[in-house]
Amino acid sequence: MKLVNPRRRMRATAIAGVALAALVAAGCSSGGSSSTAASGGSSSSSSTASGQKVTLTFWTWVPNMNKVVAIWNKAHPDIQVQVQTQAGGDQELTKLLTAAKAGNPPDLAQVEYQVLPTLVTNNYLANIAQYDGGLKSDFPAGNWNQVTLGTGNLYGVPQDAAPMALFYRADLFKKYGLTVPTTWAQFAADATKLHSEAPSVFLGSFSAVDPGEFAGLTQQAGAQWWSASGSTWTVGINDATSQKVASYWQGLLASGGVDNQPQWTPAWNKGMNDGKYIAWVSDVWAPSDFPTTAPAGAGKWQMTELPQWTAGQNVAGNWGGSSTGVMAASKHQQAAAQFAAWLNTDPTATAALVSDGGIYPADTAAEAALSAPPSYFSNQPNFWTLAKQYAAAAANVTWGPDVNVAYTEFQTAFGSAAASKGSFLSPLTAVQSAVVSDMKKSGFTVAAG
């Protein structure tokens, strides 16, 4: 359910940080609470008349966002934006839902595409179509559709596109005599071969804590977990396509070619760094992750297209990706919408987002900023050209109003299935029924797909 900096990873990093702090402070700690101050969105100044100075609060977890915002603040003395850094997508959503319910959300927030419907159905996001509606032509249709939800309203400005890709250790693939897979069948064959040659090395890890990754893989295969027509939602989480993907990964896990370690744990980071995991099904935002996850692998990891179900196809799933939304409770929606448009379409801003934030902008005009590859991938000069290809081939997706419920249930059901290397079909059914029953309980009209 993650984007630039997924929750688990942020937790793991936070854990490392806290552990370090603990070691330092162990001598004098006295049983006090170790909670860090997490203040809610401080309400912005209440001036409404134009020409007066306005301060907007902005929740985001893009690294170095304050550097990007500093450019705006310098040019717009009347509309000052104050960044309040969040830990990651999940924590921010949790805080956002609570703060919005309490009536003191920030003015602006980074909103992942998959949770946008949740916020919209709770009426927490402002419709900014009258301010930013003209930006439609700047973005790929797929991203635009995710922020309009197919209506005439606009609930956010797309920030980054997140097509999935396969990363692999070029040197170790050569060492074990593996071919870079272009289809999932080849990927499975590689896994089998690798397992027979080096049983303690894996072609990656199936991470039950990352429902967003699995959702992306099913999108690639053609699944539509949610769809809406008229006033009825259809939920197709356990349709034949998703079952195919689930059985495929269950088979890989059972064969021993793929590990079952959750991603972004200290153990997983170590495996990524020391060559225990030699492939990673990930996303074009991975360059912002690699330097901390696998510092020793710079120049050795390479990106290639996600393996396909049918040879010769070019489809990518989406894992994460987010937009900049204006909260309905904001008193300065116009100013906030103006900033959201600038952040995601102004060439200076998108260039800074790439260089400082390490994200792949959704704005189609922003490619100029992407000529130089991320420093971790200096061995792949065409890194961003590839990313652009994958983004163009990303599957269309409609997110439902309770993705959070689906993802929570996924982590529970697939967690125990991955731990026991058992069937993946019953957890898939568990997710489907949890989502359907949650939606029915809330009064949605639901048809099971």
């Binding site: 937790r11 854990i15 603990a22 162990a26 049983g31 319910k101 744990t265 170590k270 026991s420 309980k441």
Partner: protein, 304 residues
């Protein structure tokens, strides 16, 4: 007449004195509890696709949240899990605490002050940090144990399997909680009049007999107290599994009852059902502690 007036005046004063306390009590306890109960009887009602403004309303749900809480499999299995968890943790922790307290109270112990402090020390380490330390020790790739065990030709078992995870979490609880309970019991032991020991020794009782026949019965009230408190804390377990959650597949979001409450309220944005779960948990705990105290009151405190 004069007489009657004189009697009413002092009767008002006590009320004036308790008013601040009652107001505070109402503000911080009664009103939140009442609000929780109110929330537990509500739910959201969506119309259509739920996308328009005002498509989501809060309506009365009756006991719907309670019935779905009771039939919620995740919640039921978390209740069972916490029951097993306390059955493991409380006896082990209190047993160790009692053992240490008796050992420290025995006459010929060297380094008494040092031992007392070092047993107590883990209690001073914040739970989250203690759990992180243990979590890192449990993960084979970052733990020093596999290397040490390999020297003896042994391998480290996976401590996060479905069966062992509960023990692994309980271990953190034992490590952190033993010291505190030991101090409570030790303090109670020091309060036992030494004439009793002298009398016992004159009668020829051994140290073990003194411990079993005199010391333990004499500190029974302290044992009951620590037992009830430990049980309540154990049933509220949240920090340890929540901290270990990102490290393993085995511990899920609703692994323990309070985690399920948190998960429902914040991850799934359903404060109504979360409130119902909270009410159920509170009722169970209240009934449990009440029952325990009733039973132990009869046995321990009778005749005093």
């Amino acid at each position: 007449m004069k007489h009657a007036q004189r009697r009413t005046a002092p009767r008002l004063a006590p009320y004036a004195f308790v008013t601040p306390a009652i107001i505070l009590y109402a503000l911080v306890l009664l009103i939140p509890i009442g609000y929780t109960i109110y929330l537990s009887l509500e739910k959201t009602q969506v119309s259509g696709l739920g996308l328009g403004a005002g498509a989501r309303r809060q309506v009365f749900a009756g006991l719907g949240n309670y019935s779905s809480a009771i039939t919620d499999q995740a919640f039921d299995s978390s209740l069972l899990r916490v029951a097993i968890y306390s059955l493991i943790l409380v006896p082990v922790m209190l047993g160790l605490a009692l053992l240490f307290a008796l050992l420290l109270d025995a006459r010929r112990v060297r380094f008494q002050r040092f031992s007392r402090l070092s047993i107590f020390l883990p209690y001073a380490v914040p739970t989250v940090i203690a759990t992180l330390l243990w979590g890192f020790l449990y993960l084979p790739t970052v733990s020093p144990f596999p290397t040490i065990l390999a020297k003896f030709g042994l391998s480290m078992p996976n401590l996060f399997t479905t069966n062992l995870a509960l023990l692994s979490v309980a271990n953190v609880g034992v490590w952190g909680g033993t010291g505190f309970n030991m101090i409570v019991m030790y303090t109670a032991l020091r309060a036992v009049p030494s004439e009793l020991y002298e009398a016992a020794r004159i009668d020829g009782a051994s140290q073990a007999q003194i411990a079993l026949r005199i010391k333990i019965p004499m500190i029974a009230p302290a044992l009951v107290l620590t037992g009830v408190f430990s049980l309540i804390t154990t049933l509220q377990v949240f920090n340890e599994p929540e901290t270990l959650l990102p490290l393993t597949n085995t511990i899920s979001q609703g692994w323990m009852p309070l985690m399920r409450v948190y998960n429902l309220a914040f991850d799934e944005n359903n404060s109504y059902e979360a409130a119902a779960l909270a009410v159920i948990i509170a009722a169970v705990m209240f009934a449990g502690s009440f029952f325990l105290l009733r039973v132990s009151n009869k046995r321990v405190f009778q005749g005093r």
